[in-house]
């Protein structure tokens, strides 16, 4: 089995890194600083696309899990894709939290605000950490597939409920609001919205590249122990004969 990635993945990777380089220029140089927040607002160009990427990744995990559960479309690839995508999603959820915290400090005056979005994202992070831990309990797709797919779907349905309940809680005690809870940015001119849209585009390319590499790696890893054992036995038999 070849261990190399395909040409398509390489092109995707090149496109992702070129556009991320361009994003750095747009976000740091071309786009103007925000009137109220100054340069701190530039964090938006990584914070927002990181959050977008996390949601996209978990959505892909949910779709792949459904495809695994439907008997007609069941295939190892869907299980591996669900896992690969969830891993990337967890990394970018963590990144979203860290970047949001860094942005919140100069803007809200605190590292952490019990805002509905922040709280939901934190719960989301732990839900999918649990999912990844569950995935490690089975060595092959056959062993872990169904339980992981169901766990992924429960997590996916749970997130809107968590968000709704926290939002509701928040609207009931509005008097606690001291700081502007939204990282509100008034878009001005052309470059700010353009940079943000371009950032989402660049991060989506990055996601596609990462998920393909991770999926390839998972395919190689799938059943590796059994394969290697068989190879070793075959070698051993060949020696004794």
């Amino acid at each position: 089995m070849s261990t190399r990635v395909g040409v398509g993945t390489k092109i995707l990777g090149a496109a992702a890194f070129v556009s991320l380089g361009a994003l750095a220029v747009f976000a740091l140089v071309v786009a103007p600083p925000d009137e109220r927040q100054g340069d701190a607002q530039r964090l938006m160009y990584v914070h927002v696309p990181a959050a977008w990427l996390a949601y996209l990744a978990f959505f892909v995990t949910a779709v792949a899990s459904v495809l695994w559960l439907v008997p007609r479309t069941r295939s190892t690839t869907w299980d591996l894709l669900a896992g690969a995508s969830a891993e990337i999603g967890v990394v970018f959820t963590g990144l979203t939290l860290v970047l949001g915290s860094l942005w919140g400090r100069p803007t809200w005056g605190t590292w952490w605000e019990w805002d509905a979005r922040v709280t939901t994202t934190a719960v989301l992070f732990f839900l999918y950490l649990g999912y990844l831990a569950l995935r490690r309990t089975g060595a092959t797709a056959q062993e872990r597939g169904t339980r992981c797919a169901i766990a992924a779907l429960i997590a996916f349905v749970d997130v809107p409920i968590v968000h709704f309940s926290v939002t509701w809680w928040e609207t009931l005690h509005q008097e606690a609001t001291v700081f502007n809870r939204d990282l509100d940015v008034q878009f001005e001119g052309f470059w700010m919205p353009f940079t943000l849209i371009f950032a989402v585009f660049a991060f989506t390319l990055l996601y596609a590249f990462l998920v393909m590499v991770r999926l390839r790696l998972a395919e190689l890893d799938e059943g590796r122990e059994e394969r290697q054992l068989e190879e070793a036995i075959a070698e051993r038999v060949a020696v004794t004969v």
């Binding site: 649990g130 831990a133 569950l134 309990t137 997590a155 409920i161």
Partner: protein
């Protein structure tokens, strides 16, 4: 045999095992009790903080103890190939889920009554809005038991299940803790109208968890592990 009679059979089996082994009574209820005392150590009873945060502490204690109930509910299926027995019994997967969740829910209700007395006595809480408190307790318990039972079977038979179940269950039931706490606060503050919307949220969560469990339990039980 219809689904509910099958569920009753499974619930009866689990409760009979409990009645003979007394694990919930002799281990899980005392665990909840010591958690209440630990909270008092952490928050210093003299500062007057305890009565104000009692609803949150109550639900946190219930949640921690429920993790033990869930793990216990599936560890009794591990010995003597009981899990294979369940699969061979011909009972419907959804019915097995309902039965096991009902048994967990009943044990949790007992635990909640004991912890409720504990909170009133130890934290100096004066009880108001009994109807709201009772409804919140029942609905939240169904939600907790159903969610926990789904995750319990997800992790059943795995080597790392004792550590996996808490990590899976706690983030998933955050809305239950939030809703239960807010509804209790509203009841104790004498403003039950603020609490009923939370009961509705808990009810919606409970219905979703039960439906998810009934649908998912069959395929999960059939999984080899």
């Amino acid at each position: 045999m219809n689904m509910f009679r099958e569920a009753l059979l499974v619930a009866g089996k689990d409760l009979r095992i409990e009645a003979r082994s007394r694990v919930a009574l002799q281990q899980i209820v005392p665990f909840g009790g010591i958690v209440l005392i630990v909270f008092a150590f952490a928050l210093d009873p003299d500062r007057g903080l305890l009565p104000r945060v009692a609803p949150g502490l109550f639900w946190t204690a219930v949640l921690l103890a429920s993790l033990l109930s869930i793990t216990r509910s599936f560890s009794i299926e591990e010995a003597n190939g009981a899990r294979d027995g369940l699969r061979l019994s011909g009972l419907d997967g959804g019915a097995i889920f309902l039965g096991k969740a009902a048994a967990v829910a009943l044990q949790l209700l007992l635990l909640e009554v004991v912890l409720g007395f504990g909170v009133v006595v130890l934290y100096d809480v004066s009880v108001r809005g009994v109807v709201l408190i009772a409804c919140t307790t029942v609905v939240a318990t169904v939600a907790l038991a159903a969610t926990g039972t789904v995750y319990g079977v997800l992790a059943a038979g795995l080597r790392a299940r004792e550590t996996l179940v808490p990590l899976l269950v706690l983030p998933a039931v955050t809305p239950v803790v939030l809703g239960g706490t807010r509804a209790f606060e509203a009841a104790l503050a004498g403003a039950p109208s603020d609490g009923w919307p939370w009961v509705q949220l808990l009810a919606a969560f409970a219905v979703l968890a039960v439906v998810a469990g009934v649908l998912a339990f069959g395929p999960l039980l059939e999984e080899d592990s």
